[in-house]
Structures are given as C-alpha cells and as structure tokens.
Amino acid sequence: MMEKTLKGIPASDGIAIGPAFCYMPAKLTVPVCAAGTVDEEMARFDSARERARVELQSLFEAIEKRAGKKEEASIFEAHQEMLSDPVLEGKVRAEVEVGQTVEEALVKATEEVASLLAGMNDELFAARALDVKDVSRRILPRPCWWMCLLKILISSASAQMT
C-alpha cells in the first residue's frame, strides 16, 4: 500500500457546527446605580476580575492548543497581567473611596491609563491603550444591571402598594 504524508500548516481548522457566539463588545459605559460601601464595591471588583481571569485563561488555553498559535495566545497572558495591575487597581480604589460605583471607577481609571499609553510616541506602545480598554470591558461587572433592574422593580412595586 502506498502512503504519502504531506506536511504543512493548516490554514483552517475545518468546518465547525455549533451555537453562534455573538461578538458584541460592550461599550465602556456604566449603568446609573447607587454605590455600596467601599468594601462592597471592591468585592464586586474582585469577583468581576476573577470571572475575567477565568475567561482569559480558557481563551489562552483554547488558542494555545491550536498548532503554532502560541504567540497569538500570549496576548491573553498579557491581558491577565493587566487584569491584576496594581496601578489600575489603585486608581479604581481611589475613585471608589470618593463614593463612585466600581463601574464608574473602572471606566475613569481605564480612561486615565489608556490616555497615558495612547500619548506615547511609539505606535507599538500607544496601541496598548486598546488592550487596557479590552481588559476593562471584560472586567466591567455585569450583575449591576440586574441589581438596578431589581431596585427599579422593588421601588415601583412598593410605589404601587402605597
């Protein structure tokens, strides 16, 4: 029997069938919502960061598994590094301490850091502003939407009762 092995780099992973993933990047805007205590807001920040860290880790592992994608995967390692950046965290905490919600704090801190990077002379460095924004978008805690909705429902329900 004749056998011939061809070597090459796969251009495509083939055909995939499955549920579609709708890529709809959230805008860096925040719902209007009353801030909790500093500890409450920072706890929400921590759990949102943990969720984002798990997301980034699974993205990293999924892309790393594909042959020759090690370098592409490393972007998600860099994003994990930004996720736990002490300077970003410090800026968020400072905003929370003056009564902002963690969402507002994160948006403000992100703008500060992103403009710092965007203002750099080198294009390669300036483009990292987009990475910071990407990471923040991933962190932005989502439960607040539900909290706000819940608060509105409760307040309208109690308004009807009175």
Binding site: E71, A78, E81, M82, D85, P86, V87, L88, V113, L116, L117, M120, N121, D122, F125, R128, V132
Partner: protein
C-alpha cells in the same frame, strides 16, 4: 515606578538597546534584584527568532 505594574513598565517606553536603572527596596530586595537581573539577561524568555522578527 512599580515594576509589578505592567502598565507602568509599558509607559517607560523602553526599547532594544535602551539602558535601564533598576532599584529594589524592602525585605526581599536582593532576591527581587537577582530575579530582574536574570530576566533581563535571558532576553525576557524570548527566543531569538521572535526577536529577529520584531526588528
């Protein structure tokens, strides 16, 4: 400047052939300095091929 912050390290804008001054402070400052020294001496773990591509 906090070297633990990737954002702050990025804002330094350090590129190939630049000279950097590293200062460490605290109880584990010697270990930290050694770690940074070996990191720099080992090309930050980057292979030669990826360095050449960037040039």
């Amino acid at each position: 400047m906090d070297a633990k912050s990737i954002i702050m390290v990025l804002t330094l804008g350090v590129m190939k052939d630049h000279q950097v001054l590293v200062k460490t402070d605290g109880i584990d400052s010697d270990a930290a300095l050694d770690a940074l020294k070996s990191l720099i001496e080992n090309n930050f773990g980057e292979r030669l091929s990826s360095l050449q591509r960037d040039e």
